[in-house]
């Protein structure tokens, strides 16, 4: 689409990702988390809202293994999940 030679029509401008590129997981260190996430998606008819815990765990795995820059989870949009977790932890 962006290669169509249409003068005057706006062409798609790809934007670089906000936090750059994920380093490749050559050794499959987080593969189990990914499998859990994919299974959750398939079970829930591919609804993202129901599998956010699994996606959070996958990103945590990446951060632990230096495959992703460390970021507080609120900045990644998991603020509501983090509150629930800390509440559960404080109960114990």
């Amino acid at each position: 689409m962006s290669t169509a030679m249409n003068f005057g029509t706006k062409s798609f401008q790809p934007r670089p990702p906000d936090k750059g590129s994920f380093p490749l997981d050559h050794f499959g260190e987080c593969k189990s988390f990914k499998e859990k996430f994919m299974k959750c998606l398939r079970d829930n008819n591919f609804e993202n809202a129901l599998c956010r815990n699994e996606s959070k765990e996958y990103l945590e795995c990446r951060m632990e293994r230096q495959l992703m820059a460390q970021e507080p989870l609120e900045k990644l949009g998991f603020g509501d999940l983090v509150d629930g977790q800390s509440e559960a932890k404080s109960k114990f």
Partner: protein, 275 residues
């Protein structure tokens, strides 16, 4: 004409030319007005002077050694001669102003490109009209739960790249304001390492400005060793303002399409955006 360009241009630049000022045009008009009144039967010299002002006919006098036309005032009367010299000076002034304006416009049009780029870099707009997506926005954004959007995934590979590249889910249902994770899988079935680099595309085009990728695997070289298979995640969200855009009312399907190309060793590709 040589004299017209160099010294007078410098004089203008440094503001040293005292007797050229914007009123000169009006002065010329004032001077010519009496001659334009009907019934004026002045000297033929003044009329010929006027005619020369109005036409661009080159004087028939031969060019002097300096390159400039040998100009001799046509009258012997000292007053009209001074007048003609004055007109000639005024002519030159006006011509210099006009030429300066033309050159200024040309220079401004050339300077506009880097200046605009500089402006975009400082204000961070970078060509997109949507305000910047800081991580604070991600922290504070509220999911719009009643607007469900289906995101389908497409994977393409350039003919010269021998990877097997495909998405791991065909679609995913998200709402604006919620971060989502999706996976692609790539395998290098050959016996030598191959470096690929990818770009993406979002359809429909207008929805693309609301599609924000927090992190993905595009625009950077990704190296796959022989017989290696990796999972490539894309972490994205759709801007909550998507729900408020009247043009997006009918948009329920967004397609994210990635295409991988082979990267040559040492070849540096331009990354989009102003870095």
């Amino acid at each position: 004409m040589g004299r017209l360009w160099c010294p007078e241009w410098r004089c203008l630049a440094f503001g040293g030319w005292r007797w050229s000022h914007p009123g000169s045009l009006t002065r010329v008009a004032e001077r010519t007005e009496p001659f334009l009144r009907p019934g004026w039967r002045g000297t033929r010299v003044a009329e010929r002077g006027l005619r020369r002002l109005g036409t661009w006919k080159r004087p028939s006098l031969a060019r002097g050694p300096s390159g400039e036309t040998q100009w001799r005032p046509k009258s012997t009367n000292p007053f009209t001669r001074a007048q003609e010299e004055d007109w000639r000076r005024r002519n030159k002034t006006v011509l210099t102003y006009v030429a300066a304006a033309a050159v200024g416009m040309l220079g401004a049009s050339y300077a506009a490109v880097p200046l605009y780029r500089l402006y975009c870099q400082t204000t961070g707009l970078g060509g997109s009209a949507v305000a910047g997506h800081g991580s604070d926005q991600i922290e504070n954004m509220v999911p719009v739960k009643d607007r469900i959007i289906k995101v389908t995934f497409n994977a393409d590979v350039h003919a010269s790249l021998q990877w097997n590249f495909r998405p791991q889910q065909t679609e995913i249902y998200v709402v604006p304001g919620e971060t989502a994770l999706a996976f692609y899988k790539a395998k290098n079935p050959t016996d030598k390492p191959i470096i690929g680099i990818s770009t993406y595309n979002v359809v429909p085009f207008e929805a693309g400005q609301y599609f924000n990728k927090i992190q993905c695997f595009c625009f950077e070289e990704q190296r796959l060793n022989p017989q290696e298979e990796v999972d490539m995640p894309v972490f994205f969200y759709i801007d909550p303002e998507f729900a408020e855009d009247p043009r997006m009312v009918n948009v329920d399907l967004i397609t994210l399409s990635y295409t991988f190309f082979e990267a040559k060793e040492g070849h540096k590709l331009p990354v989009p955006g102003y870095n």
